[in-house]
Symmetry: C2
Subunit: 373 residues, 2 copies
């Protein structure tokens, strides 16, 4: 049911097709994040129009609200949110560690209090898989512990627990129409990462995720970690770099052999009025744009750029009209999805290694927000 | 440039075609309100999909933000908001009286403080027309004073001022591609309304508006007022009942010969989670709908009803996802636009007078919000 066929290679970068019950994923792919069964402010029609193929949703959030049993009873997550292309759910682990209150971790699982109402809950590898089976995404994740990358002493403990939990997750899984990915952890310590990559490679899973990056380490540590991990992973399985990232991170990741990415960045920036643009990341609320008749990006093919001026979007922001967030979200997501389309083209032509430095340069001015246009 | 041809009649109700520079309006028509150059949370594509033909925007708001000179410099309101079908702007009068602070009215105009930043501004018939010419809507309004319907003593004063201001508005107007409508005022006093209707009918305008209703009078007073006013207006000009209204108001209005309506009700209800439904106005946040797999209205053809369940929309509301407002706005607007389509069909068939009581009965349970489904 889950096949991965590599269609082109260029050094360590590759394009491929990952077959899922809801259609083929052409990789490398960037997945918009739909935390609460919706990519914030967008309809599924908007997502189809920007050529989104994979959407991520968060197990922790959906378990708490509306409840995974409700989603199951409503026909599963695809039907509930009316996204009939591939879906991915995380294990809930990361959110428990980053969002929930007063959590207590033991070898069996994690007890935590909901960030919504303070109620007490418990996740174990078995409950995480049961919840993800209720949700019914095409790609699901083993329950893991993501440790602070700067707490080296704790990294081994968290990694070993992640390995034991991966085995329990795999054992708990019952649905044949879901691909369970194990997760490589180990902080930023090369020996732990190597050990975790080898362990994850040994599991019988259709794909492998790399967790614990973009969580506080330096860019160099992220790259070094990927350089250690990627060569140890099997060629014939898709690799998913969780929660990453910026345009530069995507380019670096693809160059190191990553196939799947997700990140809240494009939609989160949109809610803060920031848009990807050729001259850099723009703060569209700035008065500079009050009479700017250009689209956000004159070369972009999204609905926002094909239709509206910066002046209009700036007006919506100043007038506190929610449509601003919708329009910038459409553009920012399309910008990253277009970047992936461009990258796939370069890999297919065998010129990604030549083009990567140019792409990095082109996107480097989007690393931080520009106040002026 | 502005022609109005009546295509069918049924008692006092009629269907017609009003020709504008941005296309024909098929009447009777309901106009969604896009106060700040956007129908809240919707794209122009959403509006086209629900068959919206006329959109109203507010002169007071656009004058303050982003400024009518800016809109003019950006190519006018149609281009700015990318709505290429007919647009209507009000005169700003009503908003000055209902929103602005510490206003001072004299015979020449109104001085007021902005509700946004307290800055002082002045509207006169001449400035209102100049602003509306900068905005460039197809249908524009004479500057008027809407008096409290319960302040009978003041109603004559306000009406007479409205008449003088209508003459000045007409004189100030320069653009041939805009249709200026005079406004019938007079509170709820039959003699004043008759006088105002006759005055408005005497002006050389392509259409006539009826103002000062749905502002605090009783339903019976609204109907009585329309019964006085409508027979005094010329048959061959479209009549626009400003700021009205509820589904019942639309049915009553059409029955009395109204051609154009606008109201914030459908989008305002949507922001408060209320949706028009066959069983009545639903509060979709209610727990009753948590597992309700039906669309909001099983007979509705809008994107929301064709795609999503009540359970999903309820989840979005509870999870504070803005998409809820978008989806309910689409449905509520489509519900009133469909009602107008249905009404036009009945008029064309000559059975509106038979069907009106049934329509009123069908919509009567939408008059107030139901807590339970």
């Amino acid at each position: 049911m889950f096949e991965f066929n590599i269609t082109a290679r260029n050094q360590r970068a590759r394009t491929g097709i990952f077959t899922t019950p809801h259609g083929d994923l052409i990789t490398p792919v960037f997945a918009p994040v739909g935390t609460q069964a919706t990519v914030k402010t967008l309809t599924p029609e908007h997502l189809k129009a920007i050529n989104a193929s994979l959407v991520l949703s968060n197990t922790y959030h959906l378990y708490l609200r509306p409840g995974d049993d409700l989603v199951r009873d409503m026909g599963g997550l695809h039907k509930f949110m009316q996204w009939h292309r591939p879906l991915l759910t995380d294990s809930g682990g990361f959110q428990v560690f980053s969002l929930a209150r007063t959590r207590k971790i033991d070898d069996d699982g994690v007890t935590f209090k909901s960030h919504i109402d303070g109620s007490t809950h418990r996740f174990t590898p078995e409950t995480s898989i049961a919840i993800q089976e209720n949700l019914g995404a095409d790609i699901i994740m083993a329950f893991d512990e993501c440790s602070d990358p700067n707490d080296h002493a704790y990294s081994r403990l968290a990694m070993e627990r992640t390995h034991r939990w991966a085995e329990r997750s795999l054992k708990a899984k019952t649905r044949p129409d879901q691909a369970l990915f194990g997760i490589v952890q180990g902080g930023v310590l090369a020996d732990l990462r190597a050990e975790s990559a080898e362990f994850s490679a040994s599991l019988d899973t259709p794909g492998i995720a790399i967790g614990g990056l973009s969580v506080g380490e330096t860019k160099e540590e992220m790259h070094t970690t990927l350089d250690v991990v990627m060569p140890l992973l099997p060629e014939n399985k898709p690799r998913y770099l969780m929660g990453v990232g910026t345009p530069e991170d995507l380019i670096h990741g693809v160059g190191r052999g990553v196939d799947i990415f997700d990140c809240v960045l494009p939609t989160r920036l949109a809610r803060h009025h920031a848009a990807f643009a050729p001259e850099g990341r723009l703060n569209l609320m700035n008065a500079t744009f009050a009479r700017d008749e250009r689209p956000v990006d004159p070369l972009c093919d999204c609905y926002t750029c094909m239709t509206f001026t910066r002046a209009y979007i700036r007006h919506l922001i100043v007038a506190k009209e929610l449509l601003a967030g919708t329009l910038i979200s459409i553009h920012n997501l399309r910008a990253l999805i277009r970047l992936m389309e461009e990258i796939r083209g370069y890999i297919a032509e065998g010129i990604f290694d030549e083009k990567a430095p140019l792409l990095l340069k082109q996107w480097s001015n989007n690393a931080k927000r520009l106040v002026h246009g």
